[in-house]
């Protein structure tokens, strides 16, 4: 097999000579950087923004739609180059799985602090549907407000799919002693949660759902329930008693391990790149509120925030 390698090497060498050796050294390769797009607004806008930054460095960029969970395997194999929104509690497992297998590197963390937690739309608190919220202890007296057709008289917590955090929420309900008053329903995905939220809002119904910030729901008003604070090891999976809320989480960036070598300038910019909660909110709002297309939103943001992103490229 070594022999085959040598032939390939010779061929590659010949091509290099044919192509002319006079190219500038240490510049970024001209082969395109592959950026994944998933199915939520801030991620897609940020993909085009990062693409725009790379293009300003003279790089070629390509966008590919990908499933947000399956993408880490693709980065590991080099089919996709980067991922720029790795949410701790939702994608942490996939991210670390791929890293353990090798091929995927941690390319730094955004400034934005994230929170992924159960919460209620603001009108639930403003209309005093459950007095005492957002403190979690208020939940004990208002399961009826949050009950649904299939919850058997109990209140319902609408959680993301099981692939996001397994049995974390059912465990927390039991640990907090709310197990006989509430049940957890696993939704199929973010779309299902948004559909329920929008329908509940029209009716002014009470609803407890999993959500995160920064997100487009920030603009419409969404409050997270205040559970007992998180500390290391408090979760049942980590050996604790489970009586705690979610930690403030990180938002990381990931890259294929070859990216720093093939595109040193682009990688340097990507590793410095860091957005705040407000900035991510702005990006999502351009699409979700101002109804711009994702590409236009990215262009508008790049034009308006040159001082922010130019700093990453230096």
């Amino acid at each position: 097999m070594k022999y085959l390698g040598r032939i390939v090497f010779a061929a590659a060498f010949a091509i290099m000579i044919a192509a002319g050796m006079g190219q500038a050294k240490a510049a970024d390769s001209s082969s395109p950087i592959v950026i994944p797009t998933h199915n939520w607004s801030s991620q897609v806008v940020m993909a085009y923004i990062i693409g725009g930054i790379f293009e300003s460095l003279g790089d070629n960029v390509e966008y590919v739609p990908a499933d947000s969970q399956a993408v880490y395997e693709a980065i590991r194999n080099g089919d996709v180059t980067i991922s720029h929104e790795v949410w701790q509690s939702t994608f942490g497992a996939s991210f670390y799985n791929a890293m353990a297998k090798g091929g995927l590197i941690d390319a730094g963390t955004h400034e934005a602090e994230t929170l992924e937690e159960m919460g209620v739309p603001n009108y639930v608190i403003e209309n005093n549907l459950c007095p005492g919220l957002p403190n979690w202890e208020a939940l004990a007296n208002c399961q009826d407000v949050f009950s649904t057709a299939d919850s058997d008289g109990k209140g319902r917590w609408l959680e993301g799919p099981q692939s996001w955090h397994g049995d974390l929420m059912p465990n927390r309900l039991n640990a907090l002693g709310l197990g006989d008053k509430y049940v957890v329903k696993f939704a199929g995905g973010a779309d299902a949660i948004w559909a329920e939220l929008s329908s509940a809002k029209k009716e002014g119904r009470g609803i407890i759902t999993f959500n995160w910030t920064p997100n487009f729901t920030d603009a419409e008003g969404f409050s997270f329930i205040e559970f007992p604070p998180y500390y290391d090891g408090c979760r049942i999976a980590d050996g604790g008693d489970g009586k705690c809320g979610s930690p403030k989480g990180w938002l990381k960036k990931a890259a294929n391990y070859k990216f720093p070598k093939t595109h040193p300038a682009a990688y340097s910019a990507f590793s410095k790149l860091s957005f705040t909660t407000t900035q991510i909110g702005q990006m999502a709002a351009l699409v979700d509120v101002d109804k711009m297309s994702h590409q236009d939103a990215a262009k508008a943001w790049l034009a308006a925030n040159e001082d922010v992103w130019k700093a990453f490229t230096e």
Binding site: D67, K185, G188
Partner: protein, 688 residues
């Protein structure tokens, strides 16, 4: 007739006895963890990890080769298989991009022959996009050439719809990958069909594989496809080919087998060699079935447009998911209509092309022979001139006569959006009573009943039914399917899948039979209902998931409504077809004996159409299983949720495939029983 009645009678006694034993078993076995009568041990629990490890070994470790990577100036160790599959991906991707760039322009085709560096140094090296007017015009000319004015009109309507609604770009992206995936599926299907026709051994190997491929949910092979072939349009195309080829194989084989030996002999007497016999005699004779296969391939390809975007296919499907995530149902609907229109146009064009007779004796001048090509040339010139003029008319950036950018066309979004809002405002509270009653009184008890079934009782019931219908062989076949599922760790999940499928199938069959019987009365209604069936089959089901959730919440009701909408399609179609195919002489005989319409329907037509309708029920089960799995996107706790989860699992490949097999085996067990029964009935009725 008398004989028949006795055997039927004894069969119903057998069923009754079976049911009694089943109930006794259910009541007498305690639900204890360790009892083998209650649940079998999960002996196959280790298989997913094994599958996973072996796939990863083959892909990433087996037969390592060293390759010099020019970009990082280092040797890299990689596996031979990976390099081979990735070269294949590259070739496929090149084809897709080549077609895409004819429509939309770009640099990738030029890069394939030069390099990215070349593009960087020569910014002029860019392939220009064709103006949309040219593509639309040429398609209209093609439609006219193949089947006259009406087809031209249909093509014109579709292309203009796509363009003015601002979906030209994603539509061409989808089209470019369908234009590769569909012909490949047709060729592959036809080829395998021919091989299976020639050798019985191949057929014996192929048939079970086809059965599994057709009943396995597409979600379950997405991860394996990405591991083998990477993500991107090519991966989407490969998943589509896996999904679209089986019906083509089956229909080619069916067509070839139906050819009478006289036709073959006539061919041989005329001195055909083997190749001539195949292409000049066999395939033209089997044409009807092969064309049905082509129609199915096109439908399946576009039905996959959304799913394929999970693994990197660009185009309408991806934009549709994006629109749904923002709850922009109007926009998603417009995208969905584009998908349906592309399916209809491609289907009609390919049918007309295949039906076009070559006139060998016409003596035509050059202009007459090439008039359509010349017309297209005129269209090209006119389109380019128009686009050039457009650059003077539209000064502010967008030249609508050249390319209409995505979502910059007109839109009816607000209309649909307010429609959905109105629906939620006015119907929500009214439907809650129904929703709660259905869940509390029917769905939850039904689910619990399924879950409280001891595994031994389930085996007894299913194998007993198999024995009554088809003897020991059938009993062992369905028992084998069941055993596989029972030995995985997902038996309870499979029971939940079975409960939802059963409920949906019962409702779908009732609706389908009633609607089908009513529509089969009149020729016009038949045409309309078949058109609706075709449309709903390609219309992406994801779109109606969202309004359904808004009305019924994340509950089993929502899932079941989505499933019933989809599964009613085959139930209706086969009822209509079955009733329309009842021989007229028999209907006349009935009328002469003095039966009224209702009596004729119940006593003559339905019994005669029943075997065909049973095949419809068979399809209903398959469709229902598919949608129950997609129902995981709403929120279920059945096999589908675990298949969705396998996208992020450590053992994703193995879990996905095993879960897919579980679903396929449920489908195959039902399929086996129904086919067996329908065959016997057909023989009894003298229809076979």
């Amino acid at each position: 007739m008398a004989m028949n009645r006795i055997s039927l009678h004894s069969k119903s006694t057998q069923f009754a006895a079976l049911l009694v034993v089943f109930i006794v078993l259910c009541l007498s076995i305690d639900p204890t963890e360790n009892s083998i009568l209650w649940r079998l041990p999960a002996l196959l629990a280790g298989v997913p990890a094994m599958v996973n490890n072996s796939v990863e070994f083959v892909m990433f470790e087996w037969m390592p080769i060293e390759i010099y990577n020019v970009e990082i100036e280092e040797y890299e160790e990689t596996a031979l298989v990976k390099e081979i599959t990735r070269s294949f991906s590259g070739a496929l991707l090149f084809c897709i991009q080549f077609i895409r760039e004819i429509f939309l322009g770009g640099v990738k085709t030029i890069v394939a022959f030069t390099s990215w560096d070349y593009i960087r140094e020569n910014p002029w090296a860019q392939w220009p996009a064709l103006p949309w007017t040219v593509v639309a015009g040429c398609a209209v000319v093609l439609g006219y050439a193949l089947n006259g004015r009406w087809l031209a009109l249909l093509v014109a309507f579709s292309t203009i719809y796509v363009a003015v609604f601002g979906q030209w770009e994603p539509a061409m992206e989808t089209l470019s990958f369908v234009l590769i995936a569909a012909p490949l599926s047709v060729l592959l299907g036809l080829g395998l069909g021919i091989v299976a026709f020639k050798s019985e051994k191949t057929e014996a190997i192929l048939m079970p594989l086809l059965n599994v491929a057709q009943t396995m949910p597409h979600f379950s092979y997405l991860v394996p496809v990405t591991v083998f072939f990477g993500v991107g349009d090519h991966a989407g195309a490969i998943a589509t080919i896996i999904f679209a080829t089986p019906p083509m194989i089956r229909l080619s084989l069916l067509g070839l087998k139906a050819i009478s030996p006289e036709v073959m002999e006539a061919g041989m007497m005329n001195g055909c060699n083997k190749v001539q016999l195949l292409f000049r005699v066999l395939i033209p004779t089997a044409r009807r079935n092969i064309l049905v296969g082509v129609n199915q391939v096109i439908m399946q390809c576009l039905a996959m447009a959304v799913i394929a975007s999970f693994i990197g296919a660009k185009g309408l499907g991806f934009n549709l998911l994006l629109a749904l995530n923002q709850l922009r149902i109007g926009q998603a609907l417009e995208l969905g209509i584009c998908i349906v229109l592309i399916a209809v146009v491609l289907d009609k064009l390919s049918l007309s092309w295949a039906n076009k007779q070559v006139d060998y004796f016409a003596d035509l001048s050059f202009v007459e022979r090439n008039k359509y090509a010349l017309m297209m040339l005129v269209v090209l010139l006119a389109g380019v001139v128009l686009a050039y003029l457009g650059s003077f008319i539209f000064k502010d950036g967008i030249n609508y006569l050249y390319a209409i950018p995505h979502n910059k066309g007109i839109t009816t979004e607000n209309f649909w959006q307010s429609g959905v809002d109105w629906m939620v405002d006015n119907w929500y509270s009214g439907l809650q009573g129904f929703n709660t009653a259905l869940i509390v009184h029917i769905l939850i008890p039904m689910k619990n009943a399924y879950l409280s079934m001891p595994v031994s009782a389930t085996f007894l019931l299913v194998m007993g039914v198999g024995f009554i219908i088809g003897g020991v062989r059938s009993a062992l076949t369905v028992g084998g399917f069941l055993l596989f599922i029972a030995l995985t760790e997902w038996w309870d999940r499979a029971l939940i899948t079975a409960y939802m499928t059963t409920f949906a199938v019962i409702v779908s069959v009732i609706i389908g039979t009633v609607v089908g019987s009513l529509c089969a009365r009149s020729g016009l209604a038949t045409k309309i209902v078949l058109l609706v069936c075709d449309t709903l089959q390609t219309f992406p089901s994801f779109i109606y998931l969202i309004p359904v959730i808004m009305l019924f919440g994340v509950t089993d009701t929502s899932v079941l409504i989505a499933v019933i909408i989809y599964a009613t399609i085959p139930a209706t179609r086969y009822t209509v077809e079955g009733l329309r195919n009842v021989p007229e002489s028999l209907q006349d005989a009935g009328s002469m004996s003095g039966v009224n319409h209702l009596q004729r329907l119940i006593n003559i037509e339905l019994p005669l159409a029943f075997p065909h309708m049973m095949l419809g029920i068979n399809q209903t089960v398959v469709f229902a299983l598919f949608m129950v799995i997609i129902g995981a996107m709403i929120g279920t706790d059945d096999l589908g949720q675990y298949i969705l989860k396998s996208l992020s699992d450590k053992n994703g490949i193995g879990n996905g495939l095993m879960l897919g097999l579980c679903v396929a085996f449920i489908g195959l067990a039902v399929d086996h029983l129904i086919n067996r029964w329908a065959k016997d009935r057909k023989t009894a009725l003298g229809l076979a």
